[in-house]
């Protein structure tokens, strides 16, 4: 495993030079390597352990666990799809060679994180992933430079809190190895220490997966990163955060650790705190996503909300909730990746990501549209896509636990997700095609095939979820969360909740039946006359042929509703307090302190220097005597 990672890292540099010669070759090689890696993750036997080396007397090691397998697999699905996508997409980019290098580094870093057995290895690979992704982000448009900095800082805040926590653990138990830490924590009498440590470890996940206090980087980073890379950011890198959150509540068995700290219906207080943060992210992500005009930022906020779902699910430590949260990782990864790739396709053709400048692209890019449509069905959690299964599990868990407020927030986020995913659907793909895009074409197959493949996977897993549920069940058994309780019942085709179940196959069949019945009805009755919505584009002087109150309209984009889509609702919270502004104020505060220090101590004349020298002497004497 370690050789694999090192080979990836080294090859990423080699690939830079290959890509310098011909970036297309480089990207094809990347895609092939990625495909090979997917194959590879299935072949590594579970429980394999590899020692990397020693660091300050502590052994660093990799371990292949069920959780690592699951997360690696999901990550690789997303990354490989993007790699294939990039083969063509990269010709719109300025730095293809560097992109090829860094995306391979991201892969290596992420896999390393999922394979890590101890916190320091995790940290090292984590930073590799952060560093390389941080260097891809500024390849985008103007705003992306700032985005990279914000991303780096937020990530660093979380990471260093993680590091602090890791060292606190080390100073107490003398080990970094996660299984041992789990054992030690379970027997530790000091509650405050355990709470502090778990929350500090979770901080990295909070920052990375965009949970409430540290969520603001998602908007700017996902919104401005190179378009296809946003798919990796949202679909994969954010999941590193979910992984760490899972470590902090599940690998360190919070139910055992905080057995005396159960707050409400068996949920320990620190978990409850995390759940509260997750709930806050759901609210913020949903509300902010609803009002975005920039489609990438919209989905960025949706990633905040979905990160919240994952955290809420995992945080309950209920078998259903945990499994739902972990499954939501898969669903959101695929959905977000497809959505961002679809947007990348749109931007690739139209060069804008403002919803208010787009419209009617379904006439020109139907395949992209289909991919987007199924992705949002999954994201909104509507059967028969797999997104529903995870949401269902999370709801079941919340209802069973009687966590009504959290449940209400989750419902709010879920219904809100209809609103925000529909906004790009209506604004970008449906409606009237602006005249300037009349010569836009569908993207080439190498770009849409990856999207459709991901969508197909999500669809199949929605109808027959047991292959993806099985690894999660294994994972749950590893963590000892009610291992006797079986959720996925493949024999009876059932997904079981608490005394209530459902059969995804029946639901799918019903849906298909309904569709067929509807289609039969449809064909029975008179054939429709086609209204050509593109007539004004084709024929000079033809008005659009839809209901216009008898008015003649020749400019289709005037008759397209995509600005302030939910104006009535947005108006209700337009004067909301902005956390982002608050964080900027904090940054400004540090900046001002810097200015103050600079102005008082560093800039002035010799007199001031003398003054400070004298003051130092005097103060020290005063303190000493």
């Amino acid at each position: 495993m370690f050789t694999l990672l090192v080979a990836l890292l080294i090859f990423s540099v080699v690939n830079y030079f290959i890509s310098k010669a011909s970036w297309r070759v480089g990207s094809i090689i990347n895609a092939l390597i990625g495909s090979y890696l997917i194959f590879q993750v299935f072949t590594i036997p579970k429980g394999t352990e590899v020692t990397i080396g020693k660091f300050l007397g502590e052994t660093l090691a990799l371990q292949w666990t069920n959780a690592g397998f699951y997360f690696s697999f999901v990550s690789l699905l997303v990354i490989v799809a993007v790699m294939f996508f990039a083969i063509k997409w990269l010709d719109s980019q300025k730095h293809p060679a560097a992109f090829n290098m860094f995306i391979l580094m991201v892969t290596a870093g992420s896999l390393g994180v999922f394979m890590a057995k101890d916190l320091i290895t995790l940290y090292i690979f984590w930073e590799i992933a952060v560093l390389s992704s941080m260097l891809i982000i500024p390849m985008g448009k103007k705003e992306s430079r700032k985005a990279a900095v914000v991303y780096a800082v937020m990530s660093a805040v979380g990471t260093y809190m993680f590091l602090y926590g890791a060292f606190m653990i080390y100073s107490r138990y003398g080990t970094f190895s996660m299984p041992e830490i789990a054992k030690n924590l379970a027997n530790d009498p000091s509650t405050s220490f355990k709470v502090a440590v778990v929350l500090l470890i979770a901080a990295a996940g909070i920052a990375k997966s965009g949970i409430f206090p540290l969520h603001t980087w998602l908007r700017i980073a996902h919104g401005n990163a190179p378009d296809a890379f946003s798919a990796v950011l949202s679909g994969q890198l954010v999941k590193l955060g979910s992984y760490v959150l899972m470590i902090s509540v599940a690998v360190f068995p919070s139910l055992k650790i905080f057995a005396n700290l159960k707050l409400y219906s068996g949920v320990p207080a620190p978990n409850y705190f995390l759940i509260a943060l997750g709930a806050a992210s759901i609210i913020i992500g949903t509300l902010m996503a609803i009002k975005q005009d920039d489609m990438k930022m919209l989905i960025a906020y949706s990633s905040v909300a979905n990160g919240g779902y994952i955290l809420v699910g995992i945080g309950t430590m209920d078998p259903l909730g945990f499994e739902g949260g972990v499954l939501h990782v898969f669903n959101h990864a695929l959905a977000a990746a497809v959505i961002f790739m679809a947007f990348a396709s749109v931007v690739y053709r139209t060069h804008t990501k403002k919803i208010s400048e787009l419209g009617g692209l379904i006439h020109k890019m139907p395949i992209t549209y289909i991919a987007y449509l199924f992705a949002i069905i999954s994201l909104a959690g509507i059967p028969p896509m797999s997104g529903f299964i995870s949401k269902w599990m999370i709801y079941q868990a919340l209802v069973r636990k009687g966590m009504f407020i959290t449940a209400a927030i989750a419902f709010f986020g879920s219904i809100g997700s209809f609103l925000y995913v529909f906004r790009p659907l209506a604004g970008v793909f449906l409606g009237q095609l602006p005249r300037k895009y009349k010569d836009v074409k569908e993207v080439p197959p190498i770009m849409w095939i990856p999207m459709l493949v991901l969508v197909a996977i999500s669809f199949v897993m929605g109808v027959w979820p047991f292959p993806i549920l099985q690894p999660i069940e294994n994972m749950r058994a590893d963590f000892g969360i009610a291992p006797s309780f079986k959720i996925a019942d493949a024999q009876n085709w059932l997904v079981r909740g608490f005394s209530g179940s459902w059969n995804p196959v029946i639901v799918f069949n019903l849906f298909i039946t309904g569709f067929i019945v509807a289609y039969i009805l449809y064909t029975l009755f008179p054939k429709p006359k086609k209204v050509d919505l593109l007539k004004p584009h084709k024929e000079e002087g033809a008005p659009i042929n839809i209901y216009t109150s008898g008015e003649f309209i020749y400019t289709p984009e005037l008759y397209h509703y995509n600005t302030k889509f939910y104006a009535g609702f947005e108006r209700m919270y337009e004067k909301h307090p902005s956390w982002e502004k608050l964080l900027y104020m904090l940054a400004k505060f540090f900046h001002d302190v810097g200015e103050w220090i600079h102005g008082w101590f560093f800039r002035p004349s010799p007199s001031a220097y003398t003054f400070w020298l004298a003051m130092t002497i005097l103060i020290i004497f005063w303190v000493r005597w």
Binding site: R603, S605, P606, S607, T610, F611, A614
Partner: protein, 114 residues
């Protein structure tokens, strides 16, 4: 007594550095501090009624307390040299400062913003 003088001189120097707007006056203040330190050093080596540390008729052989300590005097010589060097360096710099910033008054200097 001499200690006090040197302390007062240091005070004067520091006061000058703190209050003077003219860079050359600051340099002079610096020089005053230097001198004060030198006086202090000399004072440290002084022994009441001590003679110059040379074997002479008065003090033909080494006697405790008869000589003033010769080492501080040696040190002071070096320190003075260094002080002069610094003073010269500072003064030459000030010439250049005057050329570049058209003044050696802190408040009137041009182009030293930031």
């Amino acid at each position: 007594m001499v200690f006090w003088i040197s302390a007062i001189l240091i005070g004067i120097g520091v006061y000058g550095l703190l209050t003077q707007k003219n860079l050359f006056k600051q340099l002079i203040s610096l020089s005053i501090i230097d001198t004060a330190v030198n006086i202090f050093i000399i004072a440290v080596g002084y022994v009441d009624n001590g003679k110059a540390p040379i074997y002479s008729k008065a003090v033909p052989k080494f006697m405790e307390g008869a000589f003033v300590d010769p080492l501080p005097q040696a040190l002071v010589l070096t320190a003075i040299v260094i002080g002069v060097g610094v003073l010269a360096l500072g003064a030459s710099l000030l010439v250049k400062v005057k050329e570049k910033h058209s003044s050696i008054d802190v408040e009137n200097m041009k182009g030293v913003g930031e």
